[in-house]
Symmetry: C2
Subunit: 182 residues, 2 copies
DNA sequence: CGAGTTTAGTTGTAACATCAACCAAGAACA
DNA sequence: TGTTCTTGGTTGATGTTACAACTAAACTCG
C-alpha cells in the first residue's frame, strides 16, 4: 500500500479503520510542521543567547521582565504564572532559585495570607536591564527581521486565534501600551 | 520615570544607556508575546493529550511519525534528529527508551559503521497508527479550526520566513506530498 | 460557627532535557 | 602508512520540569 504520512496523521486514513478522522491536507500540514519546528527550535535559540550573555534562561527572563513591568515591580504568584504561560509548580521552583540569587524577593500578601507576592529586587532590575538589549537583538534577528509589516500583522492575527483555544482564559500577557501615560 | 516594559525590551531604552537598541513597537510586541505564548503552551496541550490517550510524549510521537513516513520505516539517527528538530543527545536518549519499549530498533548502518539506523518496529507502527487520530483531532481543535484558509496560508508563510533564521540549514521536515504516487 | 469546598502555593519525586566528555569510524593528507 | 581532523553517535552527571500529594487560608452555606 506504500507510503503513509503520520507527522500528525496525513493520510494514515488508508490504514486506520477510523473514517471519522479528517486528516490534514497539504497546506495544513505545511503550516503545522512549521509551527512545531518554530516552537521546538526557538526556545533553544533564546536560551542559548540569554544564558551565554546574561546567565538567564528565557523563562527566567520572562519572570523578571513581567515583574519589571508590574506596578511596584510586584506580582502575585498566580498572576505571574499566568503571564509567563507556566504552571504554578514550575514558577514556584524558578522563583525559589531566583530568590536564592537575590534577584527576586517573596513576601506573604497582606490581604490574603495564603498568597505570595514576588518582587523584583534592585539586583534583579539591574540584571534584566543589562540583559534586555541583547535579547531584543536576538528576537529581531530571528523572528522580526525576516518578516515584513504585513507578515507581522498576519502572524499576530493567526496566533491570536490559536491562543483563544490554547489559552482560553486569556492569561497570556498583552501589550498594554497606548495608555501612553508614563 | 514610570512604567518600563521589558517583556522583550519595549521601551527600556529610557533606562539603558544603549541607544543603539531598536525596541519593539506595539504591533511587534503583540506578535512576539503571542508567539511566545503559543510556543510555551502548545507543547503542554499536545503532551497532555498524547500521554493520556497513547502513553507518548509529543516528541516521541514525532520520532515514530517520521520513521513511519520514511522509506523502509528507517532513518539515520542524524537525519531523524534534524527532522524532529532535536539535538542528537536528546534523540539518542529517547530512542533508547523507545527501543526498550520495543517500538524502535537500532542497527549499525551497513555503509558507515559509526552511523546508526533507527527502524520502526511492527509494535511501534501499531502504536502510532492508534495514536494518530486522537492527535490529529487535537491539532485541528487547537490550531487549525480557529483559522480560516487565508490565515493558515499567512501563518505558514510567516513561519516559513522565521524558519530561515531559526533553522538556517532547512533541517525541519516538509510536507512532500503532491508527488501523489503511493 | 462548623463542615465542606475552593484557592494559593509549596514540595518531593520521577521523568526528561542539556551539557560536556567521550569513543570509534571515516576522511584528508603528508 | 600513520597522524590529525571531522563526523556520528553514546553516555553519565547535572539541572529542570511535570505531576501528584500536601498544607494552609479563605470562602460558602446550612
Amino acid at each position: 500500500m506504500g507510503q503513509v504520512r503520520v507527522h500528525v496523521g496525513a493520510n494514515l486514513g488508508a490504514v486506520t479503520a477510523d473514517d471519522e478522522v479528517k486528516w490534514l491536507d497539504s497546506d495544513e500540514m505545511t503550516a503545522w510542521l512549521r509551527l512545531i519546528a518554530v516552537a521546538e527550535r526557538l526556545p533553544g535559540v533564546l536560551d542559548t543567547q540569554l544564558r551565554r550573555d546574561s546567565g538567564l534562561t528565557h523563562y527566567e527572563y520572562q519572570v523578571l521582565a513581567m515583574l519589571s513591568d508590574a506596578p511596584n515591580r510586584t506580582l502575585r504568584m498566580t498572576q505571574l504564572g499566568r503571564e509567563t504561560n507556566a504552571t504554578l509548580p514550575r514558577l514556584s521552583h524558578v522563583v525559589k532559585r531566583l530568590e536564592g540569587r537575590g534577584l527576586v524577593a517573596r513576601t506573604v500578601a497582606p490581604d490574603d495570607k495564603r498568597a505570595n507576592d514576588a518582587t523584583l529586587t534592585d539586583a534583579g532590575w539591574e540584571v534584566i536591564v543589562a540583559a534586555a538589549p541583547g535579547h531584543v537583538q536576538t528576537v529581531r534577528e530571528h523572528v522580526l527581521d525576516p518578516l515584513n509589516g504585513r507578515q507581522v500583522a498576519a502572524l499576530s492575527e493567526a496566533l491570536g486565534a490559536i491562543l483563544t483555544k490554547v489559552d482560553p482564559k486569556g492569561d497570556a500577557p498583552q501589550d498594554r501600551r497606548g495608555a501612553g501615560t508614563d
